[in-house]
Subunit: 345 residues, 2 copies
DNA sequence: GCGGTTTACGCAATCGATTGCGCAGTTGTC
DNA sequence: GACAACTGCGCAATCGATTGCGTAAACCGC
């Protein structure tokens, strides 16, 4: 019944001049009235707003964006430089994304998800120039550290989820990955484990820091790192499972695993179980993230909790401060060790 | 080093007329050259494209959108009519969203995530009119069935994730919820269970169909439904846990649970365990979705698998067919029973 | 009742790319 | 050599809202 109003007989969308004509004013006045501009008397404003509502008029965002050079939109971009094939299905990313989306939409901005298909050195520059969004959140440094530095020089509202790196000029927000790695490994060592694997994609800066923490903890306990215990593994797919299986097949002995994500940890535990080993009786395992899986899996995972809601809030807070022209420093958020069955205290 | 080119000394963004001036042609020619328009000879096209690349020029999307009245963007909207407070953090939604995003970005469209804060009857009309996207995917019918019908009359590229409802005129894609409910309940009955709870938010159309399947299966087995066994429960929060706990406290006897999601199922199992009951020994539980949790939890969940990648692909396929002007019918995708520990065969 | 201020609103330029139409200049045809 | 067809490209209108500036009318004080 209301349909005629939403889209009048002509089939043409209602535009501002239509409302202006009906109201007997100019489109300038309509524009100002809808924007609650104080130079338009309240009575007129109300009339026009009522008329607009009645006729189902909504400002054309494309036109507004062009004129104002702003879009009320934040872009969330995922550089998949290192794993071009990977889909946007990593549970940790999705969880972070959900919280980011909540924070952003609370501030009445829209969220544009961009998956850049060809991450050459200029993808970010191109993205920024395309004027599709007012601000940018880059999830994960991947191998794009230099591209990020490049884009950030040319100041822009841009915040990166990731670690603080030495020569970094962009603003990043992330967990204390080093401390997470140290805590996890220290816990394994304190519970008597001595031969501890590291499992994860250490080519990613955030993961590399977790590995540094692992090394630190081992050093602190007066031991030295066996480099053959540092194994590459991807977040998804069978690589973690296969790595552990192969190690066991070769008869290598170890009694603990620090995995760079909960998914990797679970995958490793499955490999242990297939080989007749038991977790935590024979081998303790510590994960990372404290995803939903960690608490529900069997055995429940001891893991390093990342404060995802806090990270999202901080990223968005920094970004909006930057949109206001303020400068912001990078932030590192604390992590905590969550004790469960896979590596008991 | 390339920075100067990305954003020249003036601080002003490079625009098409700049490239035109440098190339010694008009902006019309630049526009056509960049669009690979055949009336521009290939030599000229290459020169101009090279120049544009060299100067880091990218078309201003706001201007293009306005002129062309299209945005190369698909909006994914989540009506949260029924649970206004709920955040976008439901794992099932996020998983579906990830797959949708993959499908859409493969087609070189951007993804706009919209969370409508005030779902009155016209939110969809407003969204459509705002010209922010060329097509729309609505995730979940929630309580917006009529609003969807309203918007769909006025033909538009719009596909809804949800069930086919009787008086529906919009295009929907979803799982066979009825069959899922029937399968789950039938399985419990076949394994000897007789007093089976239903747990879920039956006010949602998709869930209501699962409930219908539950009723059907019970009827098929010559039994009748005890309405006090149909209990409301939300996807998140403690409602499922509390409902089961209260039932046990009141001494109500039952031997099976069909939960409308894996999350609800796990929550129920926790409640059983706290009360000293054991799953599946005392009470069998079947979930819905086959989320990551289902296979990893303890006990591993018997559940109804929804084909999330297939659903996403179908939604996007329908949507793009509609963008081309084709009509599409609603689709219902098959589900399957996945046997695990919580309700063994 | 007059200068000065304020109020209320319209004119027209503007954002930057796209595109229908048309015009030179070139090639082709008989 | 004259006319037609074609090629390559530019002019200027257009998309729809926003906004700086200007002005007519209303108001105000004395």
């Amino acid at each position: 019944m209301e349909l005629e109003k939403v889209r009048p007989k002509s089939g043409r969308a209602v535009k501002m001049t239509d409302i202006a004509r009906i109201a007997g004013v100019s489109s300038s006045t309509v524009s100002r009235a809808l924007a609650d501009h104080p130079t338009i008397p309240e009575a007129t404003r109300n009339t026009i707003q009522a008329l607009a509502r009645e006729h189902g008029y909504v400002v054309n965002r494309a036109a507004r964006n062009l004129r104002q050079s702003q879009t009320q939109t934040i872009a969330v971009a995922v550089p998949l430089g290192h794993e071009r094939e990977q889909l946007i299905s990593d549970p940790f990313f999705l969880r972070l994304f959900g919280h980011l989306a909540d924070e952003i939409s609370q501030r009445r901005y829209d969220i544009l998800l961009v998956r850049e298909p060809s991450p050459d050195a200029h993808w970010l520059g191109r993205l920024v120039q395309s004027q599709r969004a007012d601000g940018f959140i880059i999830v994960g440094q991947s191998d794009q550290h230099q591209a990020l530095n490049l884009a950030a020089r040319d100041y822009r509202p841009l915040v990166v989820f990731g670690s603080e790196l030495p020569d970094q000029i962009y603003c990043s927000v992330g967990s204390d990955n080093f401390e997470g790695g140290r805590l996890a490994t220290d816990h394994l060592l304190r519970s008597g484990r001595r031969r501890i694997l590291f499992l994860g994609p250490a080519e990613l800066p955030q993961i590399d820091l977790r590995l540094d923490g692992y090394r630190q903890a081992i050093g602190d306990h007066g031991l030295s790192v066996d480099e053959s215990f540092v194994l590459p593994a991807h977040f998804t797919g069978p690589s973690a499972h296969d790595a552990v299986r192969d190690l066991l097949a070769r008869g290598v002995e170890f009694d603990g695993i620090f995995a760079a994500s909960d998914g990797i940890a679970l995958s490793a535990i499955r490999a242990l179980e297939s080989a007749g080993m038991r977790c935590p009786d024979d081998i303790s395992v510590v994960g990372f993230d404290d995803s939903d899986l960690a608490s529900q899996s069997h055995p429940a995972l001891t893991t390093i909790r990342q404060d995802v809601p806090g990270i999202a809030a901080t990223i968005v807070d920094h970004l909006f401060r930057r949109l206001e022209g303020e400068g912001t420093y990078s932030s590192t958020l604390p992590v905590s060790l969550i004790l469960r069955e896979s590596a008991p205290g």
